[in-house]
């Protein structure tokens, strides 16, 4: 019997910043509901050293959540020897799911400064359809 499946994966605190990627931007221009845009957006790049600390491997699915939202994305290892302590996501509706709406009255969200929890997950990668589903409804009659 695989008792592992009953155990909750350990959860780690993670700090995330966002960046732009030309390949993702190209995919968005073509079809923001397409598979390519999803694969290039629903991912988090983590340094080798942090991946080891958290027991993650490239292509693992991970759950990233905080009080603003929760997403399942693919874990990737950063190409360069990043010093660790900071993970990276391409700016997208997936990363925006984790951004606070509180701007301290200034109007600029903290898109590049996200605190969240990360854990190994067996769930499917969050789709754009799933992200938008709670908002699709008949608008309030005017």
């Amino acid at each position: 019997m695989d008792i592992g499946k009953f155990l909750k994966s350990p959860e780690y605190e993670i700090k995330i910043t966002t960046y732009r990627d030309i390949f993702q931007a190209e995919a968005m221009e073509r079809d923001r509901f397409g598979e390519e845009y999803k694969m290039l957006s629903a991912a988090i790049s983590i340094s080798k050293i942090d991946m080891q600390k958290m027991g993650l491997k490239p292509k693992d699915r991970v759950k990233i959540s905080n009080s603003y939202g929760s997403i399942i994305v693919e874990a990737k290892e950063t190409k360069k020897d990043e010093p660790g302590g900071l993970a990276f996501m391409v700016n997208s509706p997936w990363s925006n799911s984790l951004v606070s709406g509180d701007t301290q009255g200034k109007g600029i969200p903290e898109y590049k400064n996200i605190n969240a929890k990360i854990s190994l997950s067996k769930e499917e990668i969050t789709t754009l359809e799933k992200l938008i589903a709670p908002f699709i409804k008949k608008p309030i009659p005017f």
Binding site: I22, R32, Y68, G101, P109, L131, P134, K137, K138, P139
Partner: protein, 403 residues
């Protein structure tokens, strides 16, 4: 030659190969530009309450919604021509509406100071011809404005820089990660911690003032030495720097004062965001976040973010923008609960929740006009293919007439 509207570089050397009234191929464009010029796979259709209709019905429904709104908002126009922007501002005035654009949570802080002449700037052509020291700060141009280094900054053989990047130019990257641009700036990459820009600027100001900075002394003195020797320098301010120092933005002015041979260049994404900022600034003295009553009142509460958080707007016209994709999730619930009118060439996340959709022509492929490049230069956009879709300028006209 065609002009690309993929970003605010507005590359005007694009060759478009047209076959059966479609752009089949492009030459000289970057990956993003080529994809944009070839067009999206899902064109928007007119709809009301997500049911397909005709354009005239969509326009009538839009007019009904905005006439009845107590506090309407016009948002976007960064992917529209200057001509459409001017008409959009007039429309907002007629509606006593709030008007805002993506610069509100992007480069607005920086562009405002440039237009107020608080920061010294120059043209991209000056940079190509004269610049010897280039600082990419919180900016990954290789991914966001992919032809920046090849057309204007690092690689060209400019008038006074015939030996280009091999000998005449030095490129520096200051960033929290080793971006693709940082990889090109070999040996001159300064990694800073997240939100560490302010501390870095303070230390750099100290080093430029002849003091010994406590922060990474050796590297800081080395950087100050390079900057001091520059004959014509440029700091390309990316969104990474803008976000990091947003609470104390004047610190950038303090740094610029210590760098008399440098110019500040805003690294702008949307192709005509600067056009919107300039048009609104000319009209009101502010670059964004304005309520036109019709007298212009500027306040942070008129930003798209604060308008949604405070639930101050009760109907919104979104032109060429996708706030459902670009805003934080916590504000989307309210956005999706009010009537949204989405004007766009393509299906977007915002069109999926819109009460009304109005498809428009894709600028520079299906309609022409002018736009303002990131450095303030006016660039002509000419139409390449014929289209059944109305340009957004015409849609603004139609809404004005009907109101």
């Amino acid at each position: 030659m065609a002009t690309c509207t993929g970003c605010a570089l507005l590359c005007d050397d694009i060759e478009a190969i047209v076959e059966n009234n479609r752009i089949k191929e492009t030459r000289n464009a970057c990956r993003r530009g080529a994809a944009r010029m070839k067009g999206c796979v899902n064109r928007l259709v007119p709809s009301i309450d997500q049911k397909p209709t005709d354009i005239e019905s969509s326009i009538r429904k839009t007019v009904e919604i905005i006439k009845n709104a107590r506090s309407p908002m016009l948002f976007g126009l960064d992917n529209s021509t200057c001509e459409a922007q001017a008409k959009g501002i007039r429309l907002a005035k007629k509606l006593n509406a709030v008007i805002d654009d993506t610069s509100s949570f992007c480069q607005g802080l920086l562009i405002e100071r440039i237009l107020q002449k608080k920061l010294r700037t120059c043209s991209l052509d000056d940079i190509r011809n004269k610049a010897d020291v280039l600082v990419y700060w919180g900016s990954d141009a290789q991914d966001s404005q992919p032809r920046h280094l090849s057309r204007f900054s690092y690689f060209p053989r400019g008038e006074s820089r015939q030996r280009g990047y091999e000998e005449d130019r030095k490129a520096i990257a200051i960033d929290v990660r080793e971006s693709n641009t940082a990889k090109i700036c070999k040996g001159h990459f300064y990694r800073i911690p997240l939100k560490g820009d302010r501390e870095f600027i303070l230390a750099l100001i100290e080093a430029l003032s002849g003091k010994v900075p406590a922060y990474d002394t050796k590297k800081m003195l080395e950087l100050a030495g390079i900057l001091k020797k520059a004959e014509f320098g440029a700091v390309f301010v990316g969104i990474g720097l803008t976000y990091s120092i947003k609470e104390d933005f004047d610190i950038l002015t303090a740094l610029a004062e210590k760098l008399p041979n440098f110019n500040i260049m805003p690294m702008v994404g949307h192709y005509n965001m600067r056009g919107f900022n300039e048009a609104l600034f000319k009209e009101t003295g502010f670059v964004n976040r304005v309520k036109l009553e019709p007298k212009a009142v500027h306040d942070n509460k008129y930003s798209i973010m604060e308008s949604l958080i405070r639930k101050n707007t009760d109907a919104i016209i979104v032109v060429g923008s996708d706030p459902m994709i670009s805003l934080p999730r916590p504000v989307l619930t309210y956005l999706a609960s009010i009537p949204v009118i989405c004007i766009d060439p393509c299906i977007s996340m915002t069109s999926k929740i819109a009460a009304v959709t109005i498809p428009c022509a894709a600028t520079c492929m299906e309609s022409g006009g002018t736009a303002i490049r990131m450095d303030g230069k006016v660039i002509s956009l000419s139409k390449i293919i014929t289209s059944e879709y109305m340009p957004d300028e015409e849609i603004m006209d139609r809404l004005m007439e009907a109101i």
